[in-house]
């Protein structure tokens, strides 16, 4: 599987309702040792939301203090963090969550 198979996919809850699209993928360096790199990066979760370019531009991060206008327009952050374990299937641009999934709400945009 490639990262691009996940990014941009539409995410559906078990009841079929859409949560939005995958905006980014959360990695943690806690996997098996990989040569000079150290502990391998593992996929722990996906950030899901309806915002468009925002996540990609990094404008929603709190350390970005400006510009105000761009943060207003593009600063919308992804809404939910979904643990990888809550994903039931990944295929053809669609990700389905398991019935027990409980996406963490990330909160409203910070301006």
């Amino acid at each position: 599987m490639r990262l691009s198979d996940i990014l941009g996919s539409e995410v559906f809850a078990a009841d079929g309702s859409s949560l939005g699209h995958v905006r980014d993928v959360r990695l943690l360096a806690d996997g098996p040792e990989l040569g000079a790199f150290g502990p391998a990066l593992r996929v722990h979760g996906i950030l899901v939301g309806r915002g468009s370019l925002g996540a990609r531009l990094g404008l929603g991060r709190p350390e970005m203090r400006g510009p105000w206008l761009l943060k207003r327009v593009f600063g919308r952050r992804a809404r939910h963090l979904v643990d990888w374990g809550d994903i039931a299937s990944v295929q053809e641009g669609e990700i389905r969550l398991s019935a027990t999934a409980s996406p963490t709400s990330i909160g409203s945009p910070s301006a």
């Binding site: 599987m1 490639r2 990262l3 691009s4 996940i6 990014l7 905006r23 980014d24 993928v25 959360r26 990695l27 943690l28 360096a29 806690d30 996997g31 098996p32 990989l34 040569g35 000079a36 790199f37 150290g38 391998a40 990066l41 593992r42 996929v43 722990h44 950030l47 996540a55 990609r56 990094g58 990888w84 374990g85």
Partner: protein, 131 residues
């Protein structure tokens, strides 16, 4: 080694510049290879390689343009498509992604090598820095 324990793949890795052990530019992080079965204990996918070059890029461009680029790359390539850099070789993830190998030893270096050996290297003056 990377500075942070936590990274966002899209923001901190994708489309970033790759530098080789001598500081030469060696392509962009066009995609990442994820191995779902590498870590059976937790079933979390492991990032095993950086994909770089036209073959990897084409999938992300989608549409007709993407398919065209992919088919051209497959025809031109003599080895594995798309070209990869194993994650073992990554030494640092900052604003650049640094690797420990030389660009000439990487699969991703074949385009640069080809252009140098077939075309640019034959033009007089190619071997001297401008004066």
């Amino acid at each position: 080694m990377n500075d942070r324990r936590e990274l966002l793949a899209g923001l901190h890795l994708l489309d970033h510049q790759i530098l080789d052990c001598d500081g030469w530019a060696a392509g962009k992080v066009d995609d990442l290879e994820l191995d779902v079965a590498a870590d059976p204990t937790t079933a979390l996918p492991v990032v095993t390689a950086i994909l770089s070059g036209a073959g990897a890029l084409s999938r992300r461009l989608e549409g007709r343009l993407g398919r065209w680029v992919e088919s051209v790359d497959e025809r031109l390539a003599s080895d594995r498509v798309p070209s990869q850099i194993a994650f073992e070789l990554v030494s640092e993830i900052a604003s650049h992604v640094s690797v420990t190998a030389s660009r000439d030893d990487l699969e991703t270096g074949r385009g640069e090598r080809w252009t140098r050996e077939r075309i640019v290297g034959h033009i007089p003056g190619a071997g001297h820095a401008p004066e």
